[in-house]
Every structure is written in structure tokens, then in C-alpha cells.
């Protein structure tokens, strides 16, 4: 018996070793140091890279932290920098690029990334600056049982249908506050505005400049839609972000939600909620203004970058390790943790909303160097309107004034 176990263990070890040898890890004996945010899909990618390539590296460290965005510029500025790679998203890549802290990857992709689909290369002016591997976006979550009880037989496709359905639920006496949205003052409320603004066909800046253009017909329309929606949201909505809205949903206290696609899998799993909620939750495209219009969502990708201030050998080893993780085996092992953009992904129920939103033609979150400043201005100036203390025009004028002040200081406007 003991012998049998030993043989199996030995065989398993051989298999693991052969897997490690099979992966292309670039130059050996290098130090690989990854900074990334902290959610399961990112752990899957960085963890697979570590399994594949830590044997050949002199050092392999991963720092998963929700504060990644706050520390990455400081960590990458010294030479040699603290990390050889940062795993970023649309908005955070511009933050690194604004300071010139990441290197073009064209030669590394040629050498170690031939298996990666071409459309995953984030290319700016011909330079590949990051390699994407997963997508995310906001979309609609609905409780079909509650909708049916209120006499609504179709999943809402537009904002008006969503508001009508919420009204029906309230009038049927089922829920007083059927809608949940991430409206917490700050980044979240700014992002919620962005969704509706894009659905109304808004443009954030005058083309080719850093001049804001949110105080427009689309901006006013977006704010009015937003206020009609939060009319049916809990009075505390200005304090609610993803964790709170997910909890409200799992507690069965909401029937229509605009939440992140990455919350789909945790909501649909059997933890933290009842079967009544999970079996009746439907994930669908983010609502649009007109039927078949642009879905009110921003598409996001997550991907990896390689630091500029590290040796070429370290950069190559890091790239090869991370590229080796982006394969169908990793996707198969972690299929439901993300909407993977890689071969072998089988979209499950949790991915339905993001897929539908992307197919409906939602816009990607703008990758502009000054978008962070505008987003921050939206986040801090819109709450006066949502509290009912200001007109839409005044709130948007405040946003533009706050943005212009910050953009002048940051050098985007003169």
C-alpha cells in the first residue's frame, strides 16, 4: 500500500516537473516580482505563472493588494523598480503610462507570446503596452420571480423598462426599493454616471483635447435617468458600493441591479444567499436608452505590463512566466472566475451579462491620460444633484469647473 502511494506520488511529481519543463520560462535564474490587485481571476493567472516558472527563477514573489493602484507608480519609479510586472486594467495602465513606467512588449511578444491571440495586445501607436486576458463590465441583474409576481414578463432592456418594472414592483407592494446600484460618493457614483452618459451617446472631452464636454444634453439626460433610477433605490444608496450592493442582492432585498460582471459568479454560487435568490437571478445586457441602443456600461480589460526600470533579462523572464499562464489549461481550471478572453473559455451563466453587454456594442472605459481627473470630479460633485439640492446643469457645471482646476494643476490644460 505504502509502495503504491509512493509510486503515485512519484508519478505525479514527474508529471508536474514535465509541466514545468514544458512551459517556456525565458532566461533562468531571474527575479520575478508581480504587483496585482486581489481577486480570484488575478490569483489564477499569477498563481499559474508561479507554478510554471518559479522553479527556474531565483525569486518569484506576488503582492496581491487592493491598494495596487495607489502604490504602483511609486513602486515602479526607482531603478531597479520594486516589481517587474504590474497587472493593470484600462484606467490603471494610463496611470503608469503617464509617467512612462512600462515598456513596449513587441519583441517579447514575438519571442514568447506567439500563442496569444492578437486582439489581446493593447497597442498604442504600434507599441504593445499590455497583454489583456479577461474582460469585465457592468450589466443588469434581475430577479425573474419578483418581476413575474409584479406582472412584468420580460427582462428589462432599456432604462425606461427598468424604471417601469421597478414602479410595478413597488406598487405591487413587494419591495419599496427594488433597484440597487453602486452609487457610493466618489469613484462609484462617477462610474455610474459614466455608464448612463455613454448610453446617451455622450463624449467626455472635445475631440483630441483635454477640454471637458460633460455639461451637454447627454450629460443632463444621463443625470435625469440616474435620478429616476435611484428614486427606487434604498435611501442609503450614496454609501453603497459593490460589497454592499452584492449583500443586498444576496439577502433578497432587491430585484433589479446594475452591478459588476465580476460579481456574477459570487452571487450565483451557493454561498451567502438562498436558493430562491440564486435560482431566479438572471444576468443580461446593461440597459440602453432606446431598444437596441448602446448598452449603458464601460468595458474593462485586465492585463499585465512589464516595468521599464528592470533589466532586460528580468523583463523577459517575467513576460515569459505570465504569458505561459495564459493558456486553455488555466482557463479550464478557473473557468467561472472571470470572463476570460483566452482560448478554451466556455461562457457560463455568470458570464452571460458581460458577453451580452459587449456584443451590444458597449464602449470601453476611455483610456485617456486625463480621465482620472474627470472621474474624480464627477465622483465628488454629483452627490449634490442626487440629493436633490442642485439642478443637473449646475452639478455638471461644478464638475467641469472642478475638473478644469485639477487639469490645470496637472498640466493637461493651460
Amino acid at each position: 500500500m505504502f509502495l503504491k502511494k509512493l509510486v503515485i506520488a512519484g508519478a505525479a511529481l514527474c508529471l508536474m516537473k514535465s509541466a514545468a519543463f514544458a512551459a517556456d520560462c525565458g532566461p533562468s535564474g531571474q527575479s520575478i516580482r508581480i504587483l496585482a490587485s486581489d481577486f480570484p481571476a488575478i490569483h489564477a493567472v499569477a498563481g499559474t505563472a508561479e507554478e510554471n516558472c518559479s522553479a527556474g527563477a531565483s525569486e518569484f514573489t506576488r503582492n496581491h493588494t487592493t491598494e495596487a493602484r495607489q502604490i504602483m507608480n511609486a513602486a515602479l519609479t526607482p531603478n531597479p523598480s520594486e516589481y517587474t510586472s504590474v497587472i493593470v486594467a484600462n484606467s490603471t495602465l494610463t496611470q503608469l503610462m503617464n509617467d512612462g513606467l512600462v515598456r513596449p512588449l513587441n519583441d517579447l511578444v514575438e519571442k514568447h507570446g506567439s500563442h496569444l491571440p492578437k486582439n489581446l495586445m493593447i497597442t498604442i501607436d504600434g507599441n504593445i503596452m499590455a497583454v489583456a486576458f479577461m474582460a469585465n463590465s457592468q450589466h443588469l441583474f434581475s430577479r425573474k420571480d419578483v418581476l413575474a409576481k409584479a406582472g412584468v414578463n420580460e427582462i428589462p432592456g432599456t432604462y425606461n423598462e427598468m424604471i417601469t418594472a421597478a414602479k410595478a414592483i413597488r406598487e405591487a407592494g413587494i419591495m419599496e426599493h427594488p433597484i440597487v446600484m453602486n452609487m457610493k460618493t466618489g469613484w462609484n457614483v462617477g462610474e455610474s454616471f459614466n455608464l448612463v452618459f455613454l448610453a446617451h451617446g455622450g463624449e467626455f472631452f472635445k475631440a483630441g483635447t483635454a477640454e471637458p464636454s460633460v455639461n451637454s444634453a447627454a450629460g443632463v439626460a444621463a443625470l435625469n435617468t440616474l435620478r429616476e433610477l435611484v428614486e427606487y433605490a434604498h435611501p442609503d444608496h450614496l454609501t453603497q458600493a459593490s460589497n454592499e450592493t452584492q449583500a443586498i442582492w444576496e439577502a433578497g432585498e432587491a430585484a433589479l441591479g446594475i452591478m459588476w460582471g465580476s460579481r456574477g459568479a459570487p452571487i450565483l454560487d451557493d454561498e451567502g444567499s438562498s436558493a430562491e435568490v440564486t435560482s431566479n437571478t438572471v444576468l443580461s445586457s446593461a440597459p440602453s436608452v432606446e431598444p437596441g441602443g448602446i448598452p449603458g456600461a464601460t468595458l474593462w480589460w485586465d492585463g499585465f505590463t512589464i516595468s521599464k526600470n528592470v533589466s532586460d533579462a528580468e523583463a523577459e523572464a517575467t513576460f515569459a512566466a505570465l504569458a505561459s499562464a495564459l493558456n486553455s489549461d488555466m482557463v479550464a481550471a478557473h473557468n467561472d472566475e472571470a470572463v476570460w478572453l483566452l482560448d478554451g473559455f466556455k461562457p457560463g451563466a455568470a458570464a452571460a451579462g458581460v458577453s451580452a453587454t459587449a456584443q451590444g456594442g458597449a464602449a470601453p472605459y476611455p483610456m485617456l491620460p486625463q480621465i482620472g481627473l474627470l472621474h474624480n470630479a464627477l465622483g465628488s460633485e454629483l452627490s449634490d444633484f442626487l440629493k436633490g439640492e442642485e439642478s443637473a446643469e449646475k452639478a455638471l457645471a461644478d464638475v467641469e469647473a472642478a475638473y478644469v482646476t485639477a487639469a490645470k494643476e496637472a498640466g493637461f490644460l493651460q
Binding site: 496611470q95 503610462m97 512612462g100 493593447i122 501607436d125 504600434g126 474582460a135 460618493t185 454609501t239 465622483g379
Partner: protein, 343 residues
């Protein structure tokens, strides 16, 4: 003490204070006078999983060159101080010119980020400081008159709020006042209004923050006053008693005058602490209704992904000025007491 001896005695403290207090303040001041260089923007084709688009990005080489020539940025003088995010002279002037009533003018002014935050910060300071002073003194006198067997436990219990980390303490209270939390649900029950929410009303949010501030800083004034009470001369108290003074009269005419230097000290500390109120705003997610000067600094440095050092520096300098302004009366009083004692 001879001047020479005094100099050597004070030197380490002086050096540390220069290094860790004076120089950083000078550095913050210098940074607040500068803004970043012009970002050289280029239009390029930007491709990813969701298609290609023409968009702008920063020309790193050109911007880097500007930065190397002048690492501090462009000199802006007091421009940052007077812009809309700070003293907003132009905006206040325009509000004065266009609004018909004082109310309308005031609405316009507190809508500006700096004045809005200053209003909350001053209200918070003005409410919390006297409450903490009075309640702290009352609790100290109360505990002091307890039988000695009860003193130890009651001191321990009174100190508890101080032992809780501010961020954690306010987060716990935040969950309790949630409409599903114990306090929130009870309040809804009392007022028979299922939609009543402490977090959705500005007035209730301010009250909650002030009550939290009192709860959290009370132990500090309590323990200082309690220590002070141990030094009240018994002879004077007994003499007053012999003269027929009531307990109340003894407290007002003997105990409180004896504690005056301590009251000045506690007032100083409380004013400084309360003027930089910050943690409860973050943990109560109260940004929609209440922002303080420290919160503005935090927001400038952290939220935009592109830290606005000049703006944060200017707000810091204005905060320091505010603290100095508030402390001046107390400092003058302390100085007079000191001169009086020397005579």
C-alpha cells in the same frame, strides 16, 4: 539655568523639531507654489480587445524633458491658493455679484469645495470641543467621588472608547446605524418611518459624526482631569467646607480654578485634533454630506490616480493657518498665566 547649559539641553529637541516638523512644512509650502508641467499630448491609434480608436496619450519623451529642466514644475505663485478648489476669490466674487440674498450667496459659497469643508470642520470643532471638555470634567468628578473599590473598574470602562482604533470604532457604529443595524432599526421603530435613514440626511449625518467624535475623545479629557483632581489641595477644600460652601460651590470656586491650566491644555489638544477630523468621514462613507479639510487633502492625493501635490499642499497650509488662528486665544491666555506665575 545658564544659557549655555540650556542650549545644549534643548539642542536634540530643537534638531528633531526642525527636521521632522519645520522642514516638512517648508517643503509642503514650496510644493504648493508649483503646478505640474504642461503634458505634451499626442493623438495615436489605440487598440485592444474591444477594437481600435483614435485617442490622446502623453508624449513621455517631451514631458520628461520638461521635467528634467525644472523638476519642481511650473511656478504658479499663490495661484493654487486662489483657485476654485481653495479660496476661490473669483467664484466668491461672482457669487456676491449675482446673488440677490445673503442666503443665495451663502449657498453658492458652501457649494465650493474648500468653504463647504471648512464649514463642516468648524462646526465639528465648535460642537465637539466644549462637549468633551464639560462631559470629561463631569465624569472625572463623578468617578473621583466613587468609593475606591468602584474607581478602578469605572476608570477602565471610561477609557474603552479611546482604546478602539478610530477607523474600527466608526465602522462598527456605521454598521449599527444602518437601517438593518440595531440603532438604525430602533430609530425607525421609534419614529414609525421605515424609510428613515441616518445616512441619507445631511443633518443626521453631521449629528452622528459629532456624537461619534464626542464618544471617541471623551476619555482623553476625562483621564487628564481625573489626574488633575488628585492634586487638588485637601486643606483648601476643607477650609471651604468649614466656611459652609456647598459641594457645588466647592467644585466651581476651588476645583475648577485649580484645574484651569489643565483645561487650557486639553482645549489646545482638542482644537488641534478636531480641526483635522478625517477617519470618521471615511468609515461612515459620509462624503456625500460632510467633507473636512483633511478629507480634501486625502482626495487630492489619492483619488484621481494623478496626485495633485500642489493642491494638497495648499490645503495643508490653509489647515495649519486655521489651527494657528483657532489656537491663538488659548495660547495668549496660557502666556498671560505664565507671566502671571513668574511675577
Amino acid at each position: 539655568m545658564k544659557h549655555r547649559a540650556f542650549f545644549w539641553f534643548i539642542l536634540p529637541t530643537l534638531a528633531a523639531m526642525t527636521l521632522f516638523i519645520a522642514l516638512p512644512i517648508v517643503s509642503v509650502f514650496v510644493q504648493s507654489l508649483y503646478v505640474q508641467h504642461e503634458q505634451v499630448l499626442v493623438i495615436s491609434e489605440n487598440c485592444g480587445p474591444f477594437g481600435c480608436k483614435q485617442s490622446t496619450s502623453v508624449d513621455i519623451a517631451a514631458t520628461e524633458k520638461l521635467r528634467e529642466e525644472a523638476p519642481l514644475g511650473q511656478f504658479n505663485g499663490f495661484g493654487t491658493y486662489s483657485n476654485r478648489s481653495h479660496l476661490a476669490f473669483a467664484e466668491v466674487g461672482a457669487a456676491w455679484a449675482t446673488s440677490d440674498t445673503i442666503d443665495a450667496f451663502w449657498d453658492e459659497v458652501v457649494n465650493l469645495p474648500f468653504y463647504g469643508a471648512l464649514t463642516f470642520t468648524l462646526t465639528y470643532t465648535a460642537a465637539v470641543t466644549p462637549l468633551v471638555l464639560l462631559l470629561g470634567l463631569a465624569i472625572a468628578i463623578g468617578v473621583n467621588s466613587l468609593p475606591s473599590i468602584l474607581k478602578g473598574p469605572s476608570i477602565f470602562v471610561s477609557l474603552l472608547p479611546f482604546l478602539v482604533t478610530p477607523l474600527v470604532g466608526s465602522l462598527i457604529l456605521f454598521w449599527m446605524v444602518d437601517s438593518d443595524g440595531v440603532i438604525g432599526a430602533i430609530i425607525q421603530l421609534i419614529f414609525d418611518d421605515p424609510n428613515l435613514s441616518l445616512k441619507a440626511s445631511a443633518a443626521l449625518t453631521w449629528t452622528m459624526l459629532i456624537l461619534y467624535g464626542v464618544w471617541h475623545t471623551l476619555p482623553f479629557s476625562f483621564i487628564v482631569f481625573y489626574a488633575g483632581l488628585q492634586t487638588v489641595p485637601l486643606e483648601t477644600l476643607e477650609a471651604a467646607q468649614v466656611d459652609g460652601a456647598t459641594k457645588w460651590q466647592r467644585t466651581i470656586y476651588v476645583v475648577v480654578p485649580h484645574l484651569v491650566p489643565l483645561i487650557s491644555f486639553v482645549t489646545l489638544m482638542l482644537l488641534m485634533d478636531n480641526f483635522r477630523v478625517f477617519e470618521p468621514i471615511v468609515s461612515f462613507s459620509a462624503e456625500a454630506h460632510a467633507r473636512s479639510l483633511s478629507w480634501i487633502i486625502f482626495n487630492d492625493l489619492r483619488e484621481s490616480g494623478n496626485p495633485l501635490y500642489g493642491s494638497a499642499g495648499a490645503t495643508s497650509m490653509l489647515t495649519i493657518l486655521g489651527v494657528v488662528f483657532l489656537l491663538t486665544p488659548v495660547l495668549i491666555r496660557t502666556w498671560r498665566d505664565f507671566k502671571g506665575a513668574g511675577r
